[in-house]
């Protein structure tokens, strides 16, 4: 055991008080992973226990099966077998028969469990920097590394035995004994801190009187610096040593978020205190637990940083929203998850609207909508409220997915993110229907019911008010608003998929009618049919008019009467939707038509994608005069298809307009670059945006020199950052970046002067490097000559010079979050990829090492993943995969797999030398047993496997042995079932018939059949083991009883841990020495 290893150890003791609500309580099942359980007692009697974790290895006995369908079902079965919501668990404790009588009388049972946790791979994360000094000096710390998703359900069983379900509430008493230099931050109120007798350790005593589920409990231990919030003294912030100034600045804003939520919800923050802890190597950026939130330390920033500020504030707001909905009120079951994610996401949106303005809010909603639409159309629908009627495969509500959505920890991470995104969008749809006022009343009602319930002592049936189900939520909505939102729920919650509209129109001059045609595509994957109202806004010469149309089964065409006659000659101001009246130059429009522009579903009250056809001038009018940022953004993306001088003018005007929302202007930059490239042969004047940039940001006297930086105006700061990046995308007739533009960017870098600036320019400089990267075009290579310094292109030499200098300077004066290194690494990869410098992974490998800042590592890994794909290098792929297995940082491991999925070295449809049996086996093994400590990682591995090999047996594998026999007879018949091409959605269904159909004929298939049986075995794992116990309850009744016990049992959960930091406790002697000491101290 190395010295380092001694530190990663937890010794703990759990005491559960159980109030039986049913008779026949003879077994207690708890969730526990990784823990070594020494001893279990029930009311002072030794109790026999059984510990088995079926998820450690998903598919047993060296199966040769390698298809993902098989794995998914086996994995789902394994997870179900320990699902606490169904009354299962890894740890089965048999209540000693002496106590059965007591249990039958519904008397209190106390369960005591002693356990230890030795170098946990998941759940708790230890960060111990490898430098000399005491633990405190080194900034060592530990925290519960539970992400939002895992938090819901899973990872608590990784560090202490509990009922790892959101629906099992109990009150808590927590004690943590840590080194005297450390602070242990956990949920609830810190009652007191007491030294141990040797004065070298101290014990933190916490009490959480509000009933809380185990997954909402967390812990962070470290040499934290403590900051009491100056505005709210019951709020305490913790950060790692030396970061206190950053913490002060970053947290100076938190009280406003508190005020906002408390005001809109008309409800006090439910817990008596709140703690924020900033830790290194966080599992996710933000995770919320009862009365505390754990953040990534990388969210901290100084007053000089612009870009990080809104991001950090958003994270704080998210965390706080989850305190109300997610921690205080938690979900009844996994199927109700969407309500909590939806509400917290929705109120977070309200906060965004208030703080960052309506434009930012609408922009964000559009972004989220675009994201979910894109995901669903690509990957298939996202189902918010799955119902599982039976346990059969056929009832799988999402057959298009390669994983099961039955359990949170079988979900792909990306799917879960999209799930949250959809949930809050649906909440917004509900708001559209019932009004915000009612919406907030509903929330207030839920919260006040919950807080009344929480103050009730020992009346666990009352506590169910603190759990929210879909049903209760909908009932509350109908009570408060009196409106029926059933169809809306049915459409978006009970069904997956989005709506895809195609719209076009014609103007009938005779009837003065707009003939609108709206078609739908509801057959392709991820779509659904929409029937119901839709709003169409028509801007005419006489004003803007809203029309509610009804989308019905068969009618595609809608006639909309126009209000104004075409009359372009009369000079008159044109009224807009917001009441404003503007002068317009109407010369561009069609003389016969009074229509300026048309918008379908302008309020985004349907989860949809709209492809609408209207003339280019209409888009241009929409861009210039429509005041809604969403409309402007839609117009910009539509204008990409119309590279005309008029489009150019419209975009340039928007760019210059300071009243216009800055993100629209930023988007206009990129569109303008695209249009300029399409118009390259007819383009007049200097390169696009150059004169504009000069006018806005360069000195009056010497237009080639940029002004010294002053970023006090954030809008122009963002524009100044974006324009060079977009300009670098310009290409001349030879498809090269114009010399003018490159020199211009090089000058910007040269004359960049930040001495007089109040803010850091690190993001700006990083963007200038990105601009250099964008200017690169593929090198002209003759006969694949080797790239050397001598044959370097002159322009590239200049670029390389800058990049070298930037990268080197970063070593001496590092920038915030090392943004410049990140940009440089991307630039170098781009240079390699374009053949300007030799393609070489070694630089990236060194930057990807543990010990660099995480953003830098990710950028280097991204380059390596790209290298692996382009060069088809199996060495690098192996290097990456070994990092996935061995890297100390969970986030990096997760990210590597994510990057590999996004940029796969090969896919199921392409052939590659990389695709071989060894790789299949390696990945399979990793999914099967290697990633058992981290749900997220396992699901990532499943995703990658799917990406590389698809759902069926990978084609690179040799045929199963006996298949060859038949191969001689009839080639096709044998090959089909095994190397069947991907069938997409239908694949899963088609396998089973083929299995059954061929079962009798081929011995090959027997293999698979046996495996399928083991799946059922593991599903029935608990039942199976229960038979070993002495007093089997009636089999039919059994599950019922236990579910019952779990949902109506009241616990008082007492958790005590001792974080061992000096000596490893030997399991054998630990039994007698360490633990009783801990127990002895308290008088419960």
């Amino acid at each position: 055991m190395s010295n380092e290893d001694l530190y990663h150890k937890v010794v703990g003791y759990v005491e559960l008080t159980i109030f039986p609500t049913v008779v026949n309580l003879n077994r207690i099942k708890l969730n526990s992973k990784q823990c070594r359980i020494y001893r279990v007692r029930v009311n002072d009697l030794e109790a026999p226990f059984l510990y088995n974790d079926p998820t450690l290895e998903v598919c047993h006995h060296e199966s040769k099966q390698r298809n993902l369908n098989y794995f998914s079902s086996a994995y789902t079965a394994a997870v179900s077998a320990v699902d606490p919501d169904a009354g299962h668990g890894e740890l089965v404790i048999k209540v000693p028969s002496e106590l059965w009588k007591q249990g039958d009388d519904l008397k209190v049972l106390k369960v005591y469990i002693e356990f230890s946790l030795d170098q946990p791979k998941g759940g708790l994360h230890f960060v111990v920097p490898d430098v000399e000094g005491s633990m405190a000096e080194r900034g060592a710390h530990v925290f519960g590394s539970c992400d939002e998703k895992m938090k819901i359900f899973s990872c608590h069983r990784f560090w202490f035995p509990c009922v790892d379900s959101y629906s099992e509430l109990c009150t808590w008493k927590l004690e943590f004994t840590v080194d005297a230099s450390m602070v242990a931050v956990s949920c609830g109120d810190l009652v007191e801190t007491i030294y141990t007798h040797d004065m070298r350790k101290k014990t933190f005593h916490y009490i959480l009187p509000i009933p809380t589920a185990a997954p909402n409990i967390s812990l962070a231990v470290g040499p934290f610096e403590i900051l009491v919030d100056p505005y709210m003294h019951e709020v305490t912030h913790f950060c790692l040593p030396q970061l206190l100034p950053l913490l002060k600045h970053s947290m100076s804003f938190l009280h406003e978020i508190f005020e906002f939520y408390e005001e809109i919800l008309t409800c006090r923050y439910p817990y008596s205190c709140f703690k924020t802890v900033f830790v290194d190597e966080a599992y996710v950026q933000v995770s919320s637990y009862a009365s505390m939130s754990i953040f990534s330390t990388n969210l901290l920033h100084s007053a000089m940083i612009i870009d990080q500020t809104p991001q950090t504030r958003r994270c704080l707001a998210q965390a706080l929203a989850q305190q109300f909905f997610g921690c205080f009120i938690s979900r009844m079951s996994w199927a109700d998850e969407w309500v909590l994610k939806g509400i917290s996401g929705y109120i977070y949106g309200l906060y965004l609207k208030k703080t960052f303005g309506v434009n930012e809010y609408r922009h964000w909603i559009k972004q989220e909508l675009d994201k979910i639409v894109e995901y669903e159309l690509k990957m298939g629908g996202v189902l918010l409220h799955p119902t599982f009627s039976g346990g059969k495969e056929k009832d799988n509500p999402t057959p298009h997915l390669h994983f099961s959505i039955k359990h949170p920890h079988t979900l792909s991470w990306e799917y879960y993110k999209m799930f949250q995104c959809k949930a809050h969008l649906v909440m917004r749809l509900i708001e559209n229907r019932i009004s915000m006022e009612f919406m907030l009343q509903v929330f207030n009602k839920l919260l006040s019911l919950a807080s009344t319930a929480s103050s009730q002592k020992y009346q666990s049936h009352m506590w169910s008010q603190m759990l929210l189900s879909t049903h209760a939520f909908l009932k509350s909505i109908s009570n408060v608003s009196g409106k029926d939102i059933g169809p809306l729920i049915k459409q978006w919650v009970d069904q997956s998929g989005v709506v895809k509209f195609f719209g076009s129109f014609a103007f009938n001059r005779k009837r003065n009618v707009l003939e609108l045609e709206i078609r739908q595509d509801y057959t392709s994957s991820g779509t659904q049919k929409y029937v119901g109202p839709i709003k169409v806004t028509v801007q005419e010469l006489d004003g803007s008019f809203n029309h509610m149309l009804q989308i019905e089964e068969n009618s595609l065409k809608h006639d909309i009467p126009c209000h104004s006659k075409s009359r372009r000659n009369k000079k008159k101001k044109i009224p807009l939707m917001n009441g404003e009246e503007v002068d317009m130059d109407l010369s561009a429009m069609d003389a016969d038509s009074p229509l300026l522009w048309i918008r379908i579903d302008p309020d985004m009250s349907i989860l949809r994608k709209v492809e609408f056809e209207q003339a280019d001038f209409m888009w241009q009018y929409q861009l210039r005069y429509e005041r809604d940022v969403v409309a402007q953004e839609e117009a910009i993306s539509a204008l990409e298809k119309f590279p005309t001088p008029a489009s150019r003018l419209a975009l340039t005007d928007i760019l210059e307009q300071e009243q216009c929302f800055y993100k629209v202007r930023m988007q206009a930059c990129f569109c303008l670059a695209k249009i300029a490239n399409a118009m390259v042969s007819t383009w007049q004047g200097p390169p696009a945006m150059k004169s504009l940039f000069t006018r806005m940001f360069c000195c009056k006297s010497c237009p080639n020199i940029v002004k010294t930086n002053n970023f006090i105006n954030f809008q122009s700061y963002f524009l100044q950052k974006t324009m060079p990046v977009a300009m670098a995308l310009l290409r001349d007739v030879q498809n090269l970046c114009p010399k003018d533009v490159l020199n211009f960017i090089l000058d910007l870098i040269k004359y960049n002067d930040n001495r007089k600036n109040k803010f850091s320019d690190n993001y700006y400089r990083a963007d200038l490097i990105e601009a250099l990267t964008n200017s690169l075009t593929p090198a002209i290579s003759i006969n694949n000559e080797v790239r050397t310094v001598d044959n370097l292109n002159a322009d590239v030499r200049l670029i390389l010079e800058e990049i070298t200098r930037f990268l080197n300077m970063e070593k001496l004066l590092p920038s915030f979050r090392n943004t410049i290194t990140v940009s440089c690494l991307r630039a170098i990869r781009q240079l390699q990829k374009n053949g300007h410098i030799p393609s070489d992974p070694s630089l990236f490998k060194s930057y990807a090492q543990y010990g660099h800042f995480v953003d830098v590592r990710i950028a280097a890994l991204e380059a390596l993943v790209d290298y692996t794909r382009v060069e088809r290098s199996s060495g690098e792929l192996q290097w990456l995969l070994s990092m996935v297995q061995n890297d100390p940082v969970h986030y990096v491991r997760h990210k590597i797999l994510g990057l590999l999925c996004k940029n796969p070295p090969f896919t199921k449809t392409t052939d590659s030398a990389l695709c071989n049996e060894a790789l299949v086996d390696q990945l399979w093994k990793f999914m099967n047993s290697g990633a058992s400590h981290d749900w997220r990682l396992r699901c990532d591995a499943v995703n990658l496997y799917y990406m590389l090999f698809g759902l069926t047996r990978p084609s690179c594998l040799p045929l199963p042995e006996l298949g060859l026999v038949l191969n001689l007879k009839e080639k096709k018949a044998v090959l089909n079932p095994t190397i069947k091409p991907e069938l997409g959605v239908g694949a899963q269904n088609s396998i089973h018939p083929s299995c059954h159909g061929t079962k009798g004929d081929f011995n090959t298939m027997e293999d698979e059949d046996i495996d399928m049986e083991t799946v059922h075995d593991s599903q029935a794992f608990i039942h199976h083991h229960l038979n070993l116990l002495e007093r089997p309850s009636t089999p039919g009744k059994h599950t019922h009883t236990h579910t019952h016990t779990h949902t109506h049992t009241h616990y008082i959960h007492v958790l005590k841990t001792l974080l061992i930091q000096k000596k490893p406790a030997k399991p054998a002697s630990g039994r007698g020495t360490h633990l009783p000491q801990l127990v002895g101290g308290e008088g419960d």
Partner: protein, 300 residues
């Protein structure tokens, strides 16, 4: 005696010998004197019975003689200046000789010795005219209250401020250009130096010097350097804060000063000082409370 003659000139002559150019009249004058000294040395040698001497030996003796005479001159001048005179007298010289351990009484006997060789007088060369110091501008005449026997005013340039530097370049473009170039040069030189003295990485396998990259070195606590602003940035911030804060206070930052004020009331460690207890809002935060001592158990 010639010793008096040499006073004041000795040090100058050494310098001129060291120098090589011998064309100016002043130099010729000095060279002649040196030659005389050489003759003196040669005569003394002959007197002592030497028939020939190496040139180097003669030269060394000349040097010794010269420095001896120079020392006498310097010392005598010091004595004379000590008594607020400007021209040394015989007594100054005598005191000097005594000071240097020379028995003055023996001098007349030595001077009158019989075998004394007579040296021809050195050729008369005009003492070089010291060129007039470059006079710049008109010398000021004495104002009425200063008697005329007081020394004249020195040249105006010695007491009048005469700016000699050029007008600084105020052209904005040139300044920016210069600042940019300078910064770039400094950065390049510095990074190249570091790259040369430490480990490097290279983008080209065949050429590791053209674009040297300082090797990436993992750090034990990478987030510290990535998150904390560098000293340079902090310094720059302070400068802008003090100098430009006034014109940079915009409406959007109105709440920040308030926040700062609130923060500044807290000590850096977040621990509440006891003085604050006087105010009604005493911070009662469980994390700030002292750690309790363990209870002593009764059992012994």
């Amino acid at each position: 005696v010639f010793s008096v003659h040499m006073v004041g000139e000795g040090s100058v002559s050494i310098c001129s010998i060291a120098g090589k150019a011998t064309s100016s009249p002043a130099e010729n004058y000095l060279l002649a004197r040196r030659r005389t000294l050489q003759v003196v040395v040669s005569a003394l040698l002959t007197e002592s019975g030497f028939e020939s001497a190496e040139k180097a030996a003669v030269e060394t003796l000349t040097e010794m003689l010269q420095s001896y005479i120079t020392e006498i001159g310097r010392c005598a001048k010091a004595y004379c200046e000590h008594t607020a005179r400007s021209v040394p007298t015989l007594s100054d010289t005598v005191v000097t000789l005594i000071e240097m351990g020379f028995n003055v009484d023996t001098l007349p006997i030595y001077a009158k010795r019989s075998q004394r060789m007579v040296i021809t007088a050195p050729p008369v060369t005009n003492a070089p005219v010291t060129p007039k110091a470059l006079s710049a501008g008109q010398k000021r005449t004495h104002p009425a209250h200063i008697p005329s026997h007081f020394p004249e005013f020195p040249d105006p340039h010695t007491y009048i401020k005469t700016p000699t530097f050029r007008e600084p370049v105020s052209d904005y473009q040139v300044v920016r250009e210069k600042a940019a170039t300078q910064r770039r040069d400094v950065e390049r030189a510095l990074t190249r130096f570091i790259a040369k003295t430490g480990e490097t990485q290279s983008l080209f396998k065949d050429d590791i010097t053209t674009f040297p990259l300082i090797a990436a070195r993992p750090s034990t606590i990478p987030y510290l350097s990535a998150l904390l602003p560098s000293e340079l940035e902090l310094q720059a911030l302070e400068e802008t804060d003090s100098s430009e804060q006034d014109d940079q206070t915009d409406g959007e930052n109105t709440d920040d000063p308030g926040a700062d004020k609130e923060n500044s009331m807290l000590p850096p460690s977040g621990v509440v000082p006891s003085t604050k207890a006087s105010e009604d809002n005493v911070i009662d935060n469980p994390y700030l409370r002292p750690v309790k001592k363990p209870k002593v158990r009764r059992k012994k």
